[in-house]
Amino acid sequence: MPDMSVKICGVSFKNPVIAASGTYGYGMDYNEFYPISRLGGISCKGTTLVERAGNPAPRIAETPCGILNSVGLQNPGVGRFLTSYLPRLKKQNIVVIANIAGNSVEDYCKMAERLKESQVDIIELNISCPNVKQGGVNFGILPGSVAEVTSQVKKHSDKPLMVKLTPNVTSIGDIAKAAEGAGADALSLINTLTGMRIDIKTRRPILRNNTGGLSGSAIFPVALRMVREVYKCVKIPVVGMGGISSWEDAAEMMIAGASAVQVGTANFRDPFACIKIIEGLESFADSLGLKSIAELTGTLNEW
């Protein structure tokens, strides 16, 4: 059988399948379906310096082959993350990615400081959350601010830094290069595309926040294209996500250039989605005679 492990900015993952931030909480809920130690890793719910209540409900709406969410970074704050959630999760023997968000560069830096010497394996810089008013996605849309927040956080951190990109931009390549230039160790993409749904009876948006982030298989072709675009213009590893719901999707993503993948919305439909993707990728790699799943990355043969 092929070696399923992958290494991203020095961190070894059992396999290239990571649960995506915000869809998998702090891991323990899905641990009631299967041992989450089977995953390559988990990216925790976006966490901020202080506890956040998030947006009012409804926070979710269904769309063709996708969903919109407007959770808005509800989280217990980095303090409780470190004292209650992280230790429990780490006991599961799994790579933990801390997804951090803030309202200012200072917030991000303070977060990074707090995570120093913690058991967190990688920091995922969430500069792409569309569901918060201040900060959040604003950092993610301009190369300048992406570079600024990346380089500052790098200075305050002892962890490998993965910058998570928003797809709501004109040129994802420019943003990716800015992050790489500022010292990012890896990139992850895509976060959600901003969208809306309306209840025609009430003539009100379904989401109480009016707009939300589109995820799920609907966005897969956009995610795949962006991962490819980014892969071609940076040298650091790329973690691909956005609408992956089968091992075939994961394989497409890796062929396009992803070193690992994250799986989010698919967990809602099938709580065993990640497990099935891991198993599917393994037999696929086996059928191709690969020694290691990592050999798949970036093997796309463009026309």
Partner: protein
């Protein structure tokens, strides 16, 4: 492993009111550990999100679940087209159900429309000590009355148009009841305005009240934080997950005005 994914084979299916279906599933793993007031999350072909439906009954020995649902949109419409012998892909048992006192205590149970099904097991628990007040649009929309009778409960049917039982709201019937009688606990599930009315009456009469809340859900297991309901306690206001910490809350926990 608290949660199971299971293909529940449909053993029986009846349209008990126009657009409302009563379905019996063979689902032994979930039935084994189900509790009153919990729900399952049902996969509908062609949809990203599962549909949450309460357990209207379960039998761990026979390995069966009973659900009663109304066609509201495209997902429930799809569910309604399944036939005996088909499998339903379900996960469960989910959520934190109703707390039950000693069955000798007096319980009042207030259900509105398709909020009634999860209350049946509660009624079956308290039997003759339960007073069940249910409300429906009209006579032909009313459901589960035979079940409440069979459970030996004292049951009061209300309809909006008076076509059966009392012409009026369940909250009016409850008010009248509480003016003459007392009870140890109230359980309610139905439209939010109704539950809020029930909660107010419970508070006035200083009776504990459990409410089963509804919210749009993502994961159904507590991971995504999509399904929150505003609650309050001594530490302030919160947004609490309906799927994990609910669907059943104490009426005083819910921040009705949020």
């Amino acid at each position: 492993m608290r949660y199971t994914q299971e293909f529940g084979k449909i053993l029986n299916k009846t349209e008990i009111a126009k657009g409302t279906f009563d379905v019996i599933l063979h689902s032994p793993e979930i039935a084994k550990i189900a509790a009153v007031g919990q729900f399952v999350n049902i996969l509908c072909d062609g949809f990203t999100l599962r549909r949450p439906i309460s357990l209207c009954g379960f039998n761990s020995e026979k390995g069966i679940l009973r659900i009663v649902f109304e066609v509201r949109g495209k997902g429930t419409e799809w569910m309604s087209r399944l036939q005996v012998g088909d499998d339903m892909d379900i996960i469960g048992p989910l959520g934190h159900g109703f707390g039950l006192l000693d069955s000798s205590k007096k319980a009042v149970i207030v259900g509105g429309g398709v909020g009634t099904p999860p209350l049946l097991p509660v009624a079956q628990f308290y039997r003759e000590n339960a007073t069940v007040i249910t409300g429906f649009r009209n006579a032909s929309a009313s459901i589960l009355q035979d079940d409440f009778a069979q459970a030996g409960t004292n049951y009061i049917l209300c309809t909006d148009d008076g076509s059966a039982g009392i012409h009026g709201l369940t909250t009016q019937a409850l008010e009248q009841y509480l003016n003459k009688n007392t009870c140890d606990i109230i359980y309610t599930c139905g439209p939010k305005v109704m539950m809020h009315g029930v909660a107010r009456l419970a508070e006035e009469h200083k009776i504990n009240c459990q409410v089963s809340m509804e919210e749009r859900m993502g994961c159904g297991v507590g991971a995504c934080l999509c399904c929150v309901c505003p609650t309050k306690d001594d530490n302030g206001n919160h947004l609490t997950r309906v799927c994990l910490n609910g669907p059943v809350f104490m009426s005083t926990e819910v921040d009705w005005d949020a």
